[in-house]
Amino acid sequence: MKARARSASLLLAAALALSAAACGKPFDVKTAPGFVALENQHDFDWRATTPEGVVVGIRVVEDEERGDLGFWTQAITLQLRDVSGYALLESADIASADGTRGRLLKFGHDEDDKPYVYWVSLYLAQNRLFIVEAGGQKEIFERARPSVELTMKSVHVRCNGFLSPVLSSRTCNRW
């Protein structure tokens, strides 16, 4: 009885240690057909691109659950619209693949006199702010749009259950 309890506690400790030592990402995302995930990204926690240069990226900002979704939406809108001159084309409520409520902002901006599209999705979970970005030249982006939408909709930002960080890399990829 004692030995069984000891082995169970060892197993739990090992699991927790593995969890703590995990250096993976606190989210999960599916790379859509036509995209290739890039490795060792510095400013992004995950980034994927098409051969034509339509890019989807995810940033995780730690300890940014101080503000609610409205605060961050307004802060990002003011920064991009007023300071950088981006045109706000659309704003909509969305939900991540795990049902977390979020906000999608669709911007447009000219780069080198060519129109570009820039989408930003925001989610708040795990005391973190998840920023999912997608962008590219307007014409090319429109062609890749189904894959972009698929990728953005596949994002999980919440872990399901206590052991899921360790046991279920599908919902909270820590590996």
């Binding site: 990204q41 890019v55 990226g57 990002i76 300071v83 950088s84 000219d110 997608a134």
Partner: protein, 315 residues
């Protein structure tokens, strides 16, 4: 029989005299109310509706026969020339709208907001409620500066140019990311509303400058200069050689002055008749950085296309 005849004569006299008596009675009533009237209007003039601006505008009644919003001639009799030193015009501060995030509606041009006035009623006649009707011929120069987000600039510039043509205006200036159009004053508000639909308006600055004083003064100075020209011609006919030289010199100066003033008047008329709208496609960054609080989130300034699309794989 005699009494009957007397009665008939008395009745006939009454019949004739009755309207006369009524008229006399009415006249006496009108006279007494007329005697009261100046006191009433005098007290009204000391109220809120009687500021300097109202009086000033009222004094400069102008005539606009061609109904283009620009008076054909001023009423100089109402404005003593001696009272006005050249260049000494009371300045009216420009009306400026500063909208940070949400675009606001532009104020309509003066003629768009004018209340309806009956055809029989004189333009400057007071209304039935006692308030003075707004002056119909205030000369305002409308200018608007619109800042739009930098997206599909070529299409935006082309759309603004098309709007100018559709509203009876014309293109005044076109650069890579900026366009200036001139539209008839009556189409100013409609054109601004249409520009709102072209793209994301970040900022609007609308000004209405009242140039009534300047306009009327210039007209009076032209009139005076012409009168001087006529007098000089008369003197020239009677002058000897030496005097003629002096008079011709003076005539040249007066002619030059008239030409300058006429040019100024033409320019004013043009500015009044056609409002100027400048649309620029640029970020407001430089103008609002100083006024806006900088949020202490470094990741916020990293957002945008350049960072996202600059691809690399660290080793």
């Amino acid at each position: 029989m005699k009494a009957e005849r007397k009665l008939a004569a008395w009745l006939a006299w009454l019949q004739c005299a009755a309207p006369l008596l009524t008229a006399l009675f009415l006249l006496s009533g009108c006279a007494s109310s007329a005697a009261r009237a100046p006191r009433a209007s005098g007290s009204a003039n000391r109220g809120f509706g009687s500021n300097d601006a109202t009086i000033r505008v009222k004094a400069k009644a102008t005539v606009d026969n061609d109904a283009d919003g620009i008076p054909d001639s001023a009423a100089p009799a109402a404005v003593p020339v001696a009272e006005r030193a050249p260049g000494n015009y009371p300045q009216q501060p420009p009306m400026t709208g500063n909208h940070f995030a949400a675009p606001a509606k532009a104020p309509a041009p003066a003629d768009a907001k004018k209340p309806e006035v009956s055809k029989d009623q004189p333009k400057d006649a007071p209304r039935a409620d006692g308030t003075e009707a707004p002056h119909e011929t205030s000369m305002l120069i409308y200018t608007a500066k619109v800042t739009m987000a930098v997206y599909q600039v070529d299409q935006g510039v082309a759309a603004v140019e098309r709007l100018a043509r559709d509203n009876g205006g014309f293109l005044a200036l076109k650069r890579d990311r900026e366009i200036t159009i001139r539209v008839p004053r009556g189409r100013f508000d409609i054109t601004l509303a249409a520009i709102d639909k072209i793209g994301d308006v970040l900022h609007r600055d609308i000004q209405a400058q009242d140039v009534t004083d300047e306009f009327v003064d210039t007209e009076i100075r032209i009139k005076n200069a012409r009168a001087m020209q006529v007098r000089l011609k008369v003197l020239l006919d009677k002058a000897n050689v030496k005097e003629a030289l002096e008079i011709e010199k003076e005539m040249r100066r007066v002619t030059e002055e008239i030409e300058l003033l006429e040019g100024k008047l033409k320019l004013l008329k043009d500015k009044i008749a056609y409002s100027t709208i400048t649309v620029s496609f640029e970020p407001r960054g430089s103008t609002i950085q100083t006024t806006r609080i900088k949020l202490p989130f470094p990741w916020l300034v990293q957002l945008g296309l350049p960072a996202l699309l600059q691809l690399s794989e660290d080793r």
